[in-house]
Symmetry: none
Subunit: 403 residues, 2 copies
């Protein structure tokens, strides 16, 4: 398997081996505040994380490759030990997986926006005024009841607010299509156009679906049309159980992150309403899996808002529940981010992300948790896709190579 950079047969399978907890503080890495020279993490008061760091191997993770800014999907795949450049998963597929839909190989998934169109069909609001979840769900259920697509099986799934997912199932569907979302208002949606001959059937079906949906929604005051983008044909990828001998669980409030975790075979024991509830689910099922992935969204969200103080507070809030995670005493506890979201930039970035890896076999440098200290750590500056191998090693799950 090209995406793991060690020989497959080093993985030790079977029970009784070390348990791994991966806590992802989304968008953790930052840039210095101009007044203090300190990043968000360096500014935050994080007594628990600092205490863990002092007993951990520290390092910096390059999410994909030097200079590459990742979306959440590839960034998480890398943390799970997959080469994100080889394992390309469309956002539509991640969304479908995230709402618990059982994608099958060959399914084509598209992300939909519930949008507002005017009487002439021009886009007024690409996000339909950001409707409530209930209102979004009402529209999706209306469409499911009324739109028929002869000759193809389809599933329409509500994700959150204005976001939905369309899944097409049937032979001969490929997903090299253009978006119908023109990414601006005042113009009508575009047609989906096949980029390759193999995608012509999917283009026809999607255009038919969108036209029928528009006919149904024409009289709706706000959510009066749909925009499609982010198509993906789903190809199964080998699970973390197949590859690393790990049963896994995901504790994540947001569908996207449950989706990418399901993609690599993790189970979803429940949908937490908050980070504290996610920790509760982790505690409740701690002995039920080898690998637990806990996702915390807030640092990324505040970073994307450009809110330095808010991101500091989000990291401090995570520190407040981190003690409960540490108290479970997993054999390997990793805390990191999927990528940096510096408040100074207000978007994801390519900058390396601090990581701490606590285990009985860590090589601590005695430093606290921050960008400057982490890069002096034992792990060095490495690619995220190599983290899983290190986790397996610290968990006693990798055999000696050669005699």
């Amino acid at each position: 398997m090209a995406s793991i950079r060690i020989p497959d047969d080093l993985v030790i399978r079977g029970g009784g081996k070390g348990r791994i907890v991966l806590v992802v503080l989304d968008g953790l890495g930052g840039l210095p505040h101009p007044d203090t020279g300190l990043t968000e993490l360096e500014t935050a008061r994080t007594p628990v994380l600092d205490g863990l760091a002092r007993r951990s191997s520290l390092g910096m993770l390059i999410p994909v490759r030097h200079g590459v800014t990742p979306g959440s999907g590839p960034a998480h795949l890398a943390l799970f030990g997959y080469d994100p450049l080889e394992t390309v998963i469309g956002r539509g597929a991640l969304s479908a997986l995230g709402v618990g839909f059982e994608l099958r190989p060959g399914d084509v998934a598209a992300r939909l926006n519930l949008a507002t169109l005017d009487a002439e069909g021009r886009i007024v609001d690409r996000r339909g005024g950001r409707p409530s979840d209930g209102e979004g769900r009402r529209i999706v259920e209306l469409l499911v009841r009324t739109v028929a697509l002869p000759g193809v099986e389809y599933f329409l799934l509500h994700e959150k607010e204005h976001r939905a997912v369309l899944v097409l199932r049937g032979p001969g569907l490929e997903a090299d299509l253009t978006d119908t979302d023109p990414q601006r208002t005042g113009v009508p949606p575009l047609d989906a156009t096949a980029i390759t001959p193999g995608s012509e059937r999917a283009a026809r079906v999607i255009n038919e679906f969108l036209a029928k949906a528009r006919a149904v929604l024409r009289e709706e005051p706000i959510l009066s049309g749909l925009l499609a983008r982010g198509y993906a044909r789903f190809e199964e990828i080998p699970s973390i159980e197949t590859r690393f001998g790990l049963t896994g669980r995901v504790l994540a409030k947001y569908p996207m992150y449950r989706g990418v975790a399901r993609l690599v075979g993790m189970e979803i024991p429940g949908i937490p309403g908050s980070d504290e509830e996610a920790v509760g689910l982790l505690e409740a099922g701690f002995t039920d899996a080898d690998f637990h992935f806990l996702h915390c969204k807030a640092p990324d969200a505040r970073g994307e808002d450009g809110d330095f103080a808010g991101k500091v507070a989000a990291i401090e809030a995570a520190d407040a529940w981190m003690g409960r995670v540490a108290a479970l005493e997993p054999d390997v506890l990793i805390v990191t981010g999927d990528h940096s979201t510096p408040a100074a930039m207000g978007i994801h970035s390519w900058h390396p992300v601090p990581v701490l890896l606590k285990s009985r076999w860590a090589r601590p440098t005695g430093a606290t948790f921050g960008e400057k200290e982490a890069r002096q750590g034992d792990l060095g500056v490495i690619e995220s896709r190599d983290l899983m191998t290190l986790a397996l090693a610290h968990a006693g799950r990798l055999a000696k190579f050669g005699a």
Copy 2:
């Protein structure tokens, strides 16, 4: 493209993006002086570079791969984002490009030395007593007037002092040939011999050219023969505009460096007579290109002389004009070397080279510019070929990868 380690379509093309300046202090990296434990760069008083470093991301560049000592060609190709192991360019081709000759794909180029042979044809001086440029040019012009090669087009170009370039153009020419320069005196030049059958034609043509040239030069007192080496068949490689969406310019006093820059599509706005003139050309054309490469030879030359103090002085001299480069306020300013040339060794070496990358999105560590500090920096110890991706990211020229 295998040599860029990111997907091609991440590159954002079109105007209005960040401008990049790459300053190469040739042979910058060094080794500690036994008396002080400080390298040449650490010894030099470099207030401007130190000031830049304090606001830059720092790191160390491995020119090719761990332990590999590069020549100037591969070392620069790596800095321009090309894998130097995949993109092999013969020195002859670099020399021809460097004197402004428009090589075409399929041309075979050879480097020539104007040498001194005795009456029996034995080599007395492989470099012809290091003639003046004028004297070298006179001989080249004499040969161009008098030597005819039926059936093949040839170009003879004077490079500098005793160095010239022979370019053969015609069908069926390959360049797997042995050198005629035996690398010692007291013996006659060797014949060029084809290593592969496809190179037999080129071997015959080169031997014919060298024999005819010897006949013309027999009566010359000093420059009485030619030695050939460093053959290369020229294959076009994709330009930095094709690959990275960058228009580029080279500011370099020496032909070799203009040659490698032309090879990847950079323009030559003029031939500076000094580093200060190179900075002047940079200033004059700053808004005319996306990417400027400024080459400074002196640190390498003094390193090759084994002159520690001279290399220190050469770095200090560069610091003196570096403020003018910084005053242009490029979006991304990179200062590094193509490789190390420790005065203690007197030759190129494989040791990593300090790099500073200053941009709005740098992650400074507050350190000054030197080997010890740079290796603690945010960039870590990386391969030179990954530098361009980082430069593009800092210049806002890379799109997000995946959703």
